[in-house]
Amino acid sequence: MNFHAIKAIYRYEMARMFRTAVQSIVAPVLSTSLYFVIFGSAIGSRITEIDGVSYGSFIVPGLIMLSIMTESISNSSFAIYFPKFTGTIFEVLSAPVSYGEVILGYVGAAATKSVIIGAIILATASLFVDIQIAHPFVMITFLLLTCISFCLFGFILGIWATGWEKLTIVPILIIMPLTFLGGTFYSISMLPPAWQTISLFNPVVYLISGFRWSFYENADVAVGLSLGITVGFLLACLLVVRWIFKTGYRLRS
């Protein structure tokens, strides 16, 4: 194991985050606060409770998920796309590192940022509404799994992207709709039956449902299933990353 290399990448990436602390931390906090004002206060005053939880509290887990998914993807995809774009990637390619070490460095750093952002949002939210966490360990498990798998996904996106448009279009075109339709702001059971069925094809539904269960013990789908789908997504991303490094796809000509 080249621990020095993992540390070097991790440290380098974390330094980048602190250099851009405003972008990295303040922006998600601000946008979450706005969601609270709009959805929590304005709309929430008309929807009193969902499954015995006040609307403001109900949306907290979904909002955290929403933020960490988008942040994970954008941080991680940028982290690998940028050196590819500027050419500094040559150094990583010529270094005595395995793909596992590269992943640990880049994805580890990006996932750390996401966890920090998730914690900050949780703290921000607790200023607005009452939050209980019924199953802290399950909550942390879901948080970590989501951060890691979406950072991996972002990493894949960053390697695949051959231009800035591709880098931004995937989050906007695919991830945004999936997260908004994933039950952040509503319970799936509030939808007409046909849409409920369609929602079950959206993997994000499982993430948010499982995560919300760890807070309030109410879920749209069974927690075990949520966990299974999350782990499955993580494994799928790992397989793709492994394939990328084995073949040198878009990294080595």
Binding site: N2, H4, A5, K7, A8, I9, R11, Y12, A15, R16, R19, F82, T86, G87, T88, F90, E91, V92, L93, S94, A95, P96, V97, S98, G248, R252, S253
Partner: protein, 307 residues
């Protein structure tokens, strides 16, 4: 003794089907300074990038100190430092941090003394806390060299190190190469400036269209392929070369004032003595003479244009 770099039967076909390297065989010994000469597009960068692990070879074998670059990549890559041809624009990181990053990436424990030594040798010490992007082009190249040396490599690749750099940097770079040689490191540089090879290298390889045309000890190459010229400045101008001198390859220049004699250093006898005798017999006097030797440049142009 195993060669430091040993390349055999190396081929590279790029994705478009273009063959950039054709059956390349090359051995570079430990401690050698090797210059790979070739025109643009010859395949120099491709060759280097394969040895460093940035480009995958299509077939063939590359060994670094006896270790295979694929199977034993951790061993081979940790011994190699690369200064690339392109100048990737480094970011907001400071000079110090980017060097520390390079050292860690190549598996070395923190070594502030080594980084300091490298930065000082490249006149970068007072810039250590400057973000890379605030540096000039020449300074950025120094940083790239510092990064490549931060992990104390045994082999250093310099891809077109002095393309478009100022005199001062070129001199610094040559000093760095000389210091590395004294430490026993192996240095491989590519260039299309013959001057560079002539100044620095122990051995020269010439590559053209993806093929190594020759590798040769530099002095021997210049000796074997080199032509010498003897220029005689005549006391009086001459209208034509006298018939008695027609056996010699002579040229009259400078409005009949200079007589230039070309001879081959490989020949048993240079013919100079005979020429001088004949000149005397013809009653020609000269008041000065000089000899010159063809440079690597002439040799190189000759070689590349041969086919």
């Amino acid at each position: 003794m195993t060669a430091m770099i040993s390349i055999s039967g190396l081929n590279k076909h790029y994705a478009g089907g273009f063959q950039a390297l054709k059956d390349v065989d090359l051995e570079i010994q430990r401690g050698e300074i090797f210059a790979l000469l070739g025109p643009n597009g010859a395949g120099k960068t491709t060759l280097i990038n394969i040895v460093c692990g940035i480009v995958n070879g299509t077939s063939g074998e590359v060994l670094v100190d006896g270790h295979n670059i694929d199977g034993d990549y951790r061993v081979t890559r940790s011994r190699i430092g690369l200064v690339p041809q392109e100048l990737p624009t480094e970011s907001f990181e400071t000079v110090w941090n980017t060097c520390r990053f390079s050292r860690g990436l190549f598996g070395k424990p923190p070594g502030p003394q080594q980084i300091e030594k490298v930065l000082r040798s490249l006149s970068l010490w007072d810039k250590k806390d400057t973000p890379c992007m605030e540096l000039s082009g020449g300074m950025k190249r120094r940083v790239l060299i510092a990064k490549a040396l931060a992990h104390e490599p045994e082999v250093l690749f310099l891809d077109e190190p002095t393309a478009g750099v100022d005199v001062e940097l070129r001199q610094d770079m040559w000093n760095v190469v000389a210091a590395l040689r004294d430490e026993g490191a192996t240095v491989i540089l590519t260039t299309h400036y013959i001057e560079e090879a002539e100044q620095l290298a122990d051995r020269v390889g010439v590559i053209n269209n993806g093929e190594i045309i020759l590798t040769e000890d530099k002095t021997r190459l210049m000796h074997e392929l080199g032509k010498k010229e003897l220029v005689l400045h005549l006391s009086e101008t001459l209208a034509a070369i006298p018939a008695s001198l027609s056996d010699f390859s002579l040229e009259l220049g400078n409005s009949g004032r200079d007589l230039t004699y070309s001879y081959d250093t490989k020949q048993e006898s240079t013919g100079i003595t005979a020429l001088l005798k004949e000149l005397q017999a013809a009653g020609l006097h000269f008041n000065d003479l000089q000899t010159s030797q063809s440079s690597l440049e002439d040799i190189f142009v000759d070689l590349v244009n041969r086919d």
